[in-house]
Structures are given as structure tokens and as C-alpha cells.
């Protein structure tokens, strides 16, 4: 009986510190990677500005949240930021469309090679990063309000009598629910609607899509609109879950690109798979398993070290490693995207 309790305690420990955090982080990465993959599949370049687009959208959402809060508006147990999201999304779409008209359209007209677009997107990245830091500052911003937890560790312990607690934050639950709904909506759009099919056709074979009468300007516009929606929501969920700091969004670029490429770039399903693969690898490799083994092993075998494969400082190395491995072994990614 005691052994059974130990095993359950170990499982709860893993759930609390590995599965739940990785699930919500993976969902956030998946949304980010979807944006990267859409731009790559349809506009055919690696958009380095995506991380800072997320930061921009989140910033606007935060400003709108603060304004709503100052007016006394709240969503009760849910974060007020959800109400502010539409404002963030609209402004992000606006700035994406403006950058497209000001920067990318020129290179499209001149049929520039993808690497030129990529470098241009780095310029856009620095611009957006500058705007965000200028407006909201480089520091941490907290904007989460409402209820903090769905399940509190203390309540969980009291209810189950276990010595390990499980806590699930509202932001984690929201992340998973919103990402599922958003992904369903996106796939329905791509598979069933006329515009969605035109976008897939354009991504598949641009010349033939043009020969079929697809309007390229419209496809580009809709791609930026979807990218704006995905980036703002991904950024806001990440900010609610952790905190908002412009620099972390720049750093997110690596795991997001890793997710998109590992899953198969240009392939939306691949982006989602890749998001979870990267998130789980990062968390699994950087978690210290000492306590888990204390529960599972007899007392005489109790480990002395932390049993941590990699310090959390090196979590980005995990994305790199996976990226290199996949590019070496299966360059198309897990689900066969395009080859870079």
C-alpha cells in the first residue's frame, strides 16, 4: 500500500512539474510555430520578426488591459487580458500589413530570393523590438488578474491525502483550451473555405494557383491577418503564464523555429507536433528527478545528486540539438514539410 502511494506521489510530482508546464508551454510554442510555418509556406521566407511580432501584440494587449483595469472592468475569475485581446490583434494585423506594404512588397515585386526576405525580416525584427522597448520599457510587466489557480497544490493535498500537490494555473488551463479552439478554427478555415483552399494551393504551387485565378495580394493579406491573430494570442498566453519581458520574446524565436522545422516546415500539423516535441524535450531534460526517485527507489538507493540532465540555463540548447538532429536525419521534419 505504501509502495502504491509512493508511485502515485511520483506520478503527481511529474504531472505537476513536467507534464502540465510542458503542455502549456508546448501549446504556446505550437501557436508561435504555426505563424512561422504559415509565413514560410505561403510567403516563402523565414520570418525572424515573428517573436517580436508576438511581443508587439502582447504589448498592445497589456496596454489595453491596464486601461480596462483602470476603468474597473474585469472578467471575474478570468484575466481581463482576454477582453483586451481583440485590440492587440487588430493593432498587430495593422502593423503587419504596414510592414508588408513598406518592406516585403518591394522584394516580392522584384522577385527577391528567400534569403533577402529573411534579412529584411531581421530588420523588421529590430524595428519592432525597438518600438516595444520604447513604448513599454525593457522590464518585466505583470498583467495577470482574476483567479490564479484552477487547482491549488494545498487543496489537492487536502483532498487526496497525498504528500505531493498538483497545481494547475488558470493561465495554463486557458492556454490549452484556447489553443485547441484556435487550431480547430484554423484547420477548418484551411480545409473548408474558399480562401483557405486558395492559400493551400498558393503554398503548394504558386504558378498554378495564379493560373487558376487566385489573387496573390489577397492571399498575402489573409496570411498576415492569420499571423497577427496567432502571434498576439500566443504572446499574450505566454505572458499570462510566465511574465511579459520583450527580450524573452526574442529568445522564443529559437524554440519556435525549431518546432516548425522539427515538425516539418510549411506543414501546419507539423508545427503543432513540433511545438509539443520541443516543449516536452526542454522540460524533461532540465527537470531535476531527485524527488521522483526518492519515491520510487528503496531508501538505501536514494540518490545524492539532483539527477538533472541539463541545467535550466541550457534549455535553449535542447532546441538546437533537436534541430540539428532532425536536419541531419530527416531534413523534411517529422511530418514531411518542405526542405529549407
Amino acid at each position: 500500500m505504501e509502495i502504491l502511494t509512493d508511485v502515485i506521489n511520483a506520478v503527481v510530482l511529474l504531472l505537476n512539474f513536467v507534464i502540465v508546464p510542458a503542455l502549456s508551454y508546448g501549446s504556446q510554442l505550437a501557436l508561435g510555430a504555426l505563424g512561422v510555418t504559415l509565413v514560410f509556406g505561403i510567403l516563402r521566407f523565414a520570418n525572424f520578426a515573428h517573436g517580436d511580432t508576438m511581443a508587439f501584440g502582447t504589448m498592445i494587449t497589456i496596454l489595453a488591459t491596464w486601461w480596462l483595469q483602470s476603468k474597473g472592468v474585469s472578467l471575474g475569475p478570468l484575466p481581463t487580458a482576454l477582453l483586451a485581446l481583440p485590440v492587440g490583434i487588430l493593432m498587430t494585423i495593422l502593423i503587419l500589413v504596414i510592414t508588408d506594404k513598406a518592406v516585403y512588397r518591394y522584394y516580392r515585386r522584384h522577385k527577391a530570393v528567400p534569403v533577402t526576405f529573411m534579412i529584411a525580416s531581421m530588420g523588421v525584427m529590430f524595428m519592432m523590438n525597438g518600438i516595444v522597448r520604447f513604448v513599454i520599457g525593457p522590464n518585466d510587466q505583470r498583467f495577470l488578474d482574476g483567479e490564479r489557480f484552477i487547482i491549488r497544490a494545498r487543496d489537492f493535498k487536502a483532498a487526496t491525502g497525498l504528500s505531493e500537490g498538483l497545481s494547475i494555473k488558470v493561465s495554463q488551463g486557458l492556454t490549452v483550451v484556447i489553443v485547441i479552439l484556435l487550431v480547430i478554427a484554423l484547420f477548418w478555415f484551411l480545409q473548408k473555405t474558399r480562401t483557405g483552399k486558395a492559400m493551400r494551393a498558393f503554398s503548394d504551387n504558386e504558378d498554378l494557383a495564379l493560373l487558376s485565378g487566385v489573387d496573390p495580394d489577397r492571399v498575402v493579406l489573409v496570411t498576415w491577418i492569420i499571423t497577427g491573430i496567432l502571434a498576439t494570442i500566443a504572446g499574450t498566453l505566454y505572458g499570462l503564464d510566465k511574465s511579459f519581458k520583450p527580450f524573452t520574446y526574442l529568445q522564443l524565436l529559437l524554440p519556435m523555429f525549431a518546432a516548425a522545422i522539427v515538425g516539418g516546415i510549411g506543414n501546419p500539423v507539423g508545427a503543432i507536433v513540433g511545438g509539443y516535441v520541443i516543449a516536452f524535450s526542454e522540460v524533461v531534460v532540465t527537470y531535476a528527478y531527485k524527488k521522483v526517485f526518492i519515491y520510487l527507489l528503496p531508501q538505501s538507493l536514494e540518490p545524492d545528486s539532483l539527477l538533472q540532465l541539463l541545467s535550466t540555463d541550457y534549455k535553449f540548447a535542447v532546441s538546437f540539438l533537436l534541430l540539428v538532429l532532425v536536419l541531419l536525419v530527416r531534413p523534411t521534419g517529422i511530418l514531411r514539410g518542405k526542405v529549407l
Binding site: 483552399k197 486558395a198 493551400r200 494551393a201 504551387n205 504558378d207 498554378l208 495564379l210 487558376s212 485565378g213
Partner: protein, 234 residues
């Protein structure tokens, strides 16, 4: 009057002119075939009709109206469909979705046209939910022609539709093309398999270095000793 005519076309891809005053035309319910040696400008002539290259001089007219200033998209909207030689299907989309894309500019109900296409190409009905990229070369070619027909064009242009397919598939494809002609569609194709193509052609153009060398009915060209000697291998 020809449905589509390119008259005295001069032009190329920048650089030297590939087309040097050639004329190509096609009528309703007629198959016109462009043959000629490599580098004669066969595909270029077709691209010029579609507006994919700019002409230095000459005119392109659709039902008597000058269209040389129009973009390829605008010409497609008029009812000109084009099947490129390569990459002519959406490989990551199903056969049915390929057909839907062909009818992209149509706003009416397309189910009747889809049924007609399935009658014309029964194999496509069978494979309707399969990805076009998973089909054999001959089947892909059928998808490519079917996609173009979905827009109910008045002119169908085919760039070497039988390139790389087996002789049996080629015969079948030509049979289908003859059926399409029955529906009153004007068909213009460029072909490497000159002998077979001319045998089903109402009109044949032999191009050499961007100029018309011979223009006659398909049968007459096949019977012409000079054409036989120079272009059909005796």
C-alpha cells in the same frame, strides 16, 4: 473568325527575340497543334498568347478583341485555360480539391462540371480523395487537364501534355482531347510527338526559329513530303 489568335508575334525573354513574326490561331471546336524542332519557340508562342512574356510587336486577340495588354490572370478570366508542361497539379491537395481550384473563379454550382469530368476521366472519380502527388504520371496529366477544364474555358492550351507518359497513356489522352473538342472547346497544343499530334489536328503549325514554316491541316502536313523529311523523320 478565330477564338484566339496571335498575329505576327515578335518577342522573347528579354535578350534576343525568340518569336520572329509567327502567327498562331485556333477556332472553336478545332484542335491546332504547334510542332517544330527544339528551340523553335513553340512553348514561347503559347506563353505569348497567355501573356506570360511581353511582345515587342504583333497582336493577340480573343474573339476579335485586342488582349495583348492584359495580364495572364485577366486572360484566364476571359476563358483561356492553360496546362503547363511541368508542376501542373497541386500535389498536396486531393484530386477533387484540384478540380475545385480549377473552378476557383466560378461562382455557380460546379457539381455538374465535376460529374462531366468524372465521365471523361473515370479514374479521377475513383481517386477523387487521393492526393494528386500520389498518382502516376499519366493520372496526374489527366488531373492537370481536368483542372483546366473545370473553368469551362473556350480555349484550352496544352504544353506537351504527353511528355513523359507511356504510348498507351498518350493514345488515351489524345482520345480524351478529341472528346473535349466535341464540346466546342478550341484546343491549342504544343507537342513533341509530332506525328501522333498532327494525326488528330485540324490545323498544324510548323515553327522554325520563331517563324511559320508550314501551316496546313494536320493531314496535309503529314502528307507533305518536305514536312515528313525535315520534321517527322521520313
Amino acid at each position: 473568325m478565330s477564338v484566339l489568335i496571335g498575329e505576327n508575334m515578335v518577342g522573347g525573354y528579354g535578350g534576343a527575340d525568340i518569336l520572329r513574326g509567327c502567327t498562331v490561331a485556333v477556332d472553336e471546336g478545332e484542335i491546332a497543334v504547334i510542332v517544330g524542332p527544339n528551340g523553335a519557340g513553340k512553348s514561347t508562342a503559347m506563353k505569348a498568347l497567355l501573356g506570360m512574356i511581353e511582345l515587342n510587336s504583333g497582336s493577340v486577340r480573343f474573339r476579335g478583341k485586342e488582349i495583348s495588354a492584359l495580364t495572364p490572370q485577366a486572360r484566364i478570366a476571359l476563358g483561356i485555360a492553360f496546362v503547363p508542361q511541368n508542376n501542373n497539379v497541386f500535389t498536396n491537395m486531393t484530386v477533387f480539391e484540384n478540380l475545385e481550384m480549377g473552378a476557383f473563379l466560378r461562382e455557380d454550382d460546379i457539381s455538374e462540371t465535376v460529374d462531366q469530368i468524372y465521365q471523361l476521366f473515370p479514374i479521377l472519380a475513383e481517386k477523387r480523395n487521393q492526393l494528386a502527388g500520389e498518382l502516376s504520371g499519366g493520372q496526374r496529366q489527366q488531373v492537370a487537364v481536368a483542372r483546366a477544364l473545370m473553368s469551362q474555358p473556350s480555349v484550352l492550351m496544352l504544353d506537351e501534355p504527353t511528355a513523359g507518359v507511356s504510348p498507351i497513356v498518350m493514345d488515351e489522352l489524345f482520345d480524351r482531347i478529341l472528346e473535349v473538342r466535341q464540346a466546342g472547346v478550341a484546343i491549342l497544343m504544343v507537342e513533341q510527338n509530332a506525328r501522333q499530334a498532327l494525326s488528330i489536328a485540324d490545323k498544324g503549325y510548323v515553327l522554325v526559329v520563331g517563324e511559320n514554316r508550314h501551316t496546313d491541316s494536320g493531314r496535309a502536313l503529314l502528307a507533305n513530303p518536305e514536312v515528313r523529311r525535315s520534321f517527322l523523320g521520313g
